[in-house]
Amino acid sequence: MAQSTTQIAPAPPDPGVSEADRRTLERAANGGGTFRTRFRRDRTLVLMTLPAVLLVLVFTYVPILGNVVAFQEYDPYVGDNGFVAVFHSPWVGLEQFSRLFEDPAFWDAVRNTLVLFTLQLLLFFPVPILLALLVNSVLRPRVRALSQAILYLPHFFSWVLVVTVFQQIFGGAGIIAQTLRRHGHEGFDLMTDPGVFKFLVTAEGVWKDAGWGVIVFLAALASVSPDLYEAAAMDGAGRWRRMWHVTLPALRPVIALLLVLRVGDALTVGFEQILLQRDAVGPGAAEVLDTYVWWNGVRNQDFSYAAAAGLIKGVVGLGLVLAANKVAHLMGEQGVYKK
């Protein structure tokens, strides 16, 4: 959901430097020479990255090893602690996976995750871009600052609060239903209707985080030189043509990057938000992969089973990032990384 919050937009490529020139510049920056000489020269920098590397190793790479429990019947209580228990737990091969594939609830979760992702991509992803264009067209600094503040604010509300507010407004005893009843109409209950649940979740996401997503796009827009607009205007380009030929091309690398990241993260469609509302419509409509893992792993303590589900999610996610990145390259964009 909050796919764009922490990504920093890369500087748009300097149009004045050709690809060949850029390669030369890079080589110069690498400095050539043997690994040893380069290491001696950069050792201060290497040292400075060490804490970060350590953190990544300890908190990201070491835990990956924990995935071996997906091939066990893991019991955390054999042996002195949870780590030792891995060595004492029996191996069961792919049994957890076959259990998983036979479980209709797992496939419900997969389906819900994909539907939600698609909905979010269609209904949520474009909103920050449109908002950014809108805010960017506001010229008076005070109005602009105010509208930005209003847009960013909902991001800082917790999900508990957002869900409660939605319940109080759209729930069966909410403001709208009660107002309708007072005027002699039937009430309604949006919050417990499995049919609209995914739209509801997407709407909540838009309300909460679309404003926050604007930041990245605004930053990209700020880097567009006013000269370009002036030149275009001189050539007789109207508002729409300026947007089409100047603004959007400037945003394209950012949009492509965020799209790649979003697609790579497709199986992550929100956790807390969904967990909070899961019981209102039942897991058939609301369970997604993350809540499925949580429910089985943390609540039912079926650790190995949950690990298997999590592993599948991770592997599919990796494939999606690679695929999306490839597509970005084919479109002539930078993507997340380049060989």
Binding site: G171, A173, Q178, R182, G187, P194, A280, G282
Partner: protein, 560 residues
């Protein structure tokens, strides 16, 4: 909160925990067996036979410090409704038993915990002669942390585990990681700790895990603690009669409900439905089996189970249930009740007093009362007994003998019966600091309400006690309700036994609670439940039946 109400007080999840007491991974061949074997008491999965139990269980020595005004009957708690005269308080623990160890205790806490160093904890520590360091954790999400803490190498000296948090592999963790208290308490040894010796044997029997005495119990009444509460003030004003059958309830609910006026008849009534239709308990796995005409039947296989769900479903489809209850995790059912948006809700027995005192200053007209559970057909309800002990404290296997002895010393103080100085200190704190006594009625002040909460009462408690010196009328009503319901309560086959199912069945019944909620809210059909039940039988339910059958043939039931 009095100790017995805190046993039942926590969030609504406690009664729903379908994953309650479950299996431990001690099936043949796993290293765990080696880690905990060798006591000569047989296999670790299963239960402790009556013969073995006799050797392990602590002796019972009754203590009549203060004679209860209402003696226990039909499994009810003891009721105290008289005045409390400070000068008459007895001393049940002369001197200090503690040797000054530092004891780290992890325990669930409902509410916001006080500072670690506060006058209540200091006074308790001083009384016991130990230094207890509390690691209070949010009680509503306790099960989410418990597993990780038990699996870590750095487990606290004492871990408090409510019965409803003993899902999954937790009982196995108790066996492999917790100290055997038998050498300290079995038989006459318990007499070193007279207040522990006065804990009813049924509660101790529930503390036997895999043939050893592992837990310090918080005894509770086995009578159902789910009370269908109603707004007596509104019922009296409007002249509603209490329902005496399932159909009567529905008719009344339709009469009460006026969505336009923002009044709905009730909150989710699933638990009451289970009681009204005589469904076997779902709180703990073994309690859900019963021997009928020589055959073990599980609660999900009974017609009563389906009928109860169908009836609850009717309540929802008739629109008499508050919409926020339909959304399940939204808001607080207690708040909907006190604000008058619902007139009936079910919750545990402690709410009777808690709601009354809470509303005393806010809404003078407010009256809460519990209606008797009605039989679905208008006759007497057929109720089933729950567990005679709800919460347990376990000592880590790594704790030294001195620490274990100090924990027992602490438990001996917290288990002091009503009418003693120790009971007052444990449940009310220090006079003047935490409560004041006026006319024989101790009243906690703000500091008392903030500090004298949970913590020490979780360690071990006296026989189930209900006493509200500030509202003796409510204590009386609560005990009498228990006695009336107790008269209609039967014990299912495995009542009172701590049974550990084989690991392969651990997750067999995980999905039923979810399905129940889907069905009553109209998202799934009764037919889905019937399918789930036949699936359950095929995937292990029938095997599990045979397993229980063998257990019964080998060990007999606790009552036997």
């Amino acid at each position: 909160m009095t100790p017995n109400t805190s046993a039942t007080g926590p969030g609504r999840r406690s009664f729903l925990a379908s994953s309650a007491v479950a299996a431990a991974a001690v099936a043949g061949g796993t290293p765990l067996l080696a880690a905990c074997g060798g006591s000569g008491s047989g296999s670790k999965e299963g239960t402790t036979s009556a013969r073995d139990a006799k050797k392990i269980l602590p002796a019972f020595v009754a203590r009549n410090v203060v004679t209860p005004d209402i003696p226990s009957k039909n499994g009810s708690s003891l009721g105290f409704t008289g005045k409390l005269v400070a000068a008459d308080l007895k001393t049940s623990v002369p001197g200090r038993l503690g040797k000054g160890s530092t004891i780290r205790i992890m325990s669930p806490f409902w509410g916001s915990p006080p500072k670690g160093d506060n006058p209540y904890y200091r006074a308790m520590n001083d009384k016991i002669g130990v230094n207890v360091v509390w690691r209070n954790q949010d009680g509503n999400t306790y099960d989410e942390k418990l597993g990780a803490v038990l699996a870590s190498g750095d487990m606290p000296d004492v871990v408090v585990i409510p019965g409803w948090n003993m899902g999954g592999r937790i009982p196995g963790a108790v066996i492999s990681k917790m100290a055997d208290l038998g050498p300290y308490l079995s038989g006459d040894q318990v007499k070193d700790y007279p207040n522990l010796a006065a804990i009813p044997t049924d509660a101790w029997r529930r503390s036997l895990f895999g043939g050893k005495l592992h837990g310090l119990p918080m005894p509770s009444s086995y009578v159902t603690n789910i009370v269908p509460y109603y707004r007596k003030d509104v019922f009296d004003e409007k002249g509603y009669d209490l329902p005496t059958s399932a159909a009567g309830f529905l008719a009344l609910a339709k009469e009460i409900t006026s969505a336009r006026a923002k009044v709905w008849a009730c909150d989710d009534m699933k638990w009451t439905a289970f009681n009204a239709f005589g469904v076997l308990p779902g709180s703990e796995k073994p309690l859900g089996w019963n021997l009928v005409d020589g055959k073990l039947v599980h609660r999900v296989e009974t017609d009563a189970y389906l009928e109860a769900l169908e009836w609850t479903r009717t309540l929802y489809s008739a629109g008499v249930v508050h919409p926020d209850a339909k959304a399940q995790n939204q808001g607080d059912s207690g708040l909907r009740f006190t604000s008058g948006e619902v007139l009936v809700y079910n919750n545990d027995l402690s709410h009777w007093w808690a709601r009354t005192t809470e509303q005393a200053s806010q809404n003078k007209k407010f009256r809460i009362a519990g209606m008797d559970v009605f039989g679905h057909d208008g006759g007497e309800p057929a109720l089933w007994a729950g567990s005679p002990a709800g919460i347990f404290a376990f000592v880590s296997k790594k704790a030294s003998e001195t620490v274990v002895r100090d924990v027992l010393a602490a438990a001996n103080v917290t288990a002091a019966p009503y009418g003693t100085e120790e009971y007052m200190l444990t449940n009310y704190g220090v006079e003047g600091t935490h409560y004041t006594v006026e006319d024989g009625t101790p009243t906690k002040n703000d500091k008392g309400n903030q500090e004298v909460l949970n913590a020490f009462v979780m360690l071990a408690s006296p026989a189930p006690t209900i006493a509200h010196p500030d509202r003796p009328d409510i204590a009386k009503a609560q005990v009498e309700w228990q006695q009336r319901m107790g008269a209609r309560t039967k014990k299912s086959t495995f009542y009172g036994l701590q049974i550990i199912e084989p690991a392969r069945y651990t997750h067999l019944s995980d999905d039923f609670e979810q399905l129940e909620d889907d069905i009553v809210r109209g998202r799934k059909k009764i037919g889905d439940m019937q399918r789930a039940v036949s699936d359950w039988k095929r995937r292990g339910g029938d095997e599990l039946r045979d397993w229980y059958r063998k257990l019964l043939d080998d060990n007999g039931s606790a009552q036997g």
